[in-house]
Symmetry: C2
Subunit: 281 residues, 2 copies
């Protein structure tokens, strides 16, 4: 463990896991990546809510996970440890043991908390905006796994391996029907005629916590919001395009192949609203 | 580690792995499950060939994996250790480190060898045959991941969790187009008019080592073999149905819902051929 990270495995400081853990064997688990601001995990209850949805989908007993997780976090906060880091990753697996795919009843879920500094991005992408590309890989339709943040992430790994140009900050993923879904690590929104659009994620994709927060926040602000199935050509007519996740917050998209946009007023407004909510939460 | 198993992680006896391993974070790796017969890993070169195909697909440098794996196995064999176990599981991941999906260049792949006793099955399923069911879960079409034995196995976990009746030994999986694919842990064959059929696995499914061995062996024996896309109704007209994998070898299927079969002559012949090949390999 390097000194700039700290890991707790089932409540104990340590950086190793039994190789018999089903998280390793099958990707049989979930994760959350959470921004820390002065020691506060931002949108924590929304992250826990998504973790709960994931646990329910996979049949991992969430009640065995939540209470110890809260206790770990309370300890780290009281010790002043959370305050020293910028990112909290929580990883939950079904637990260790058994052979074969059948989830044995009575396994104790594994919980891992990984604290690390916030990464830095060259330039100021939240202000300047970012260039993105379209990935070749098409996301498979897997409705039983859609929306949740499970540990089966080979599609994202393969998609992210498609480009090495550091000036391209994100790859946009289409599904097997060529519908827009998301970025490899972020969710996608666009604005047209003051209406906010984002892909529906019931067949593939991850329902980002910031995505869902923005959807609710925008509706609350009286903005019209539409979730649906859209092809790439929907972006041709977009006035603004933006990406979001729990670490980057909101990045305006300024270029995708020959398409160009400027960071627009609705993007700036959503950035301000999110910042306000961070300070209030 | 219990005394009836032995694990090597990167050549060292030990049962733990850094939590920063990408195998855990993203299922970014592959595995092989191999039967040991008197200390000999059966069909080892075919397992290595599939591992190589998987490494090439994921961009994991196979040349960094194979030589140390062979050295581990030679040592375990020379020490007389392999002879004490019945199953060898090999797990290879892209390695440890980095944050985010981008595979950093220069990572050293992680290799894990897990030795355990051969599991026992009640009754004598290879002789008596087994009952199976159709799973509700439909496999997603993910051609970039089809055929290889990667660590993203949540579909199999969810499918295997669908039933608890111990008299049902396997669940048959259809894909999202309702085409037959495989069992949760095995490959599927059937016989009709002395011709052998099995689903093509270019959109989903795992190309089992025993499956591919049987395809080649049957052709060599002059049997007609057909790989294709088939609906469940293809089984209505089947004379024999069978399952195979590296640990169960070949199980005749005797019941699927209202359909019944007897273990037939071609199934018995394939069982004999496989046994001969095991002794010769």
């Amino acid at each position: 463990m390097t000194s700039d990270t700290l890991t707790l495995v089932n409540g104990e400081v340590g950086d190793s896991l039994p190789v018999s853990d089903r998280g390793l064997a099958y990707g049989d688990g979930l994760f959350e990546t959470i921004q820390l601001l002065d020691g506060r995990p931002l949108l924590l209850e929304a992250h826990f809510a998504r973790l709960q949805r994931g646990c329910e989908r996979l049949g991992i007993p969430f009640e065995d996970v939540l209470k110890p997780l809260r206790a770990d976090l309370a300890r780290l906060r009281n010790e002043g440890t959370l305050q020293r880091f910028g990112v909290l990753k929580i990883l939950v697996t079904r637990g260790s043991g058994g052979r074969g795919y059948l989830p044995q009843p009575g396994l104790t879920p594994t919980r891992i908390l990984m604290l690390s500094p916030r990464g830095s991005y060259s330039g100021d992408p939240a202000v300047q905006g970012v260039r993105v590309r379209i990935c070749d890989l098409r996301l498979a339709h897997a409705p039983r796994l859609a929306g949740i943040k499970h540990l089966n992430r080979l599609e994202q790994v393969l998609a992210r391996a498609e480009w090495h140009d550091p000036d391209i900050r994100e790859g946009i993923l289409l599904d097997q029907d060529d519908c827009l879904v998301e970025g490899t690590m972020s969710n996608l929104f666009w604005v047209r005629d003051r209406r906010l659009y984002t892909p529906r994620l019931d067949r593939c994709g991850v329902e980002g916590v910031v995505r869902n927060h923005l959807l609710a926040r925008a509706s609350h602000e009286g903005l019209e919001v539409e979730e649906g199935r859209y092809s790439l050509s929907a972006l041709d007519a977009a006035d603004e395009v933006l990406l979001c996740n729990s670490l980057i917050d909101i990045w305006p998209v300024v270029a995708l192949d020959a398409r160009c946009w400027s960071p627009g007023p609705l993007t700036r407004r959503l950035q301000r609203l999110l910042k306000e909510d961070y300070l209030a939460c």
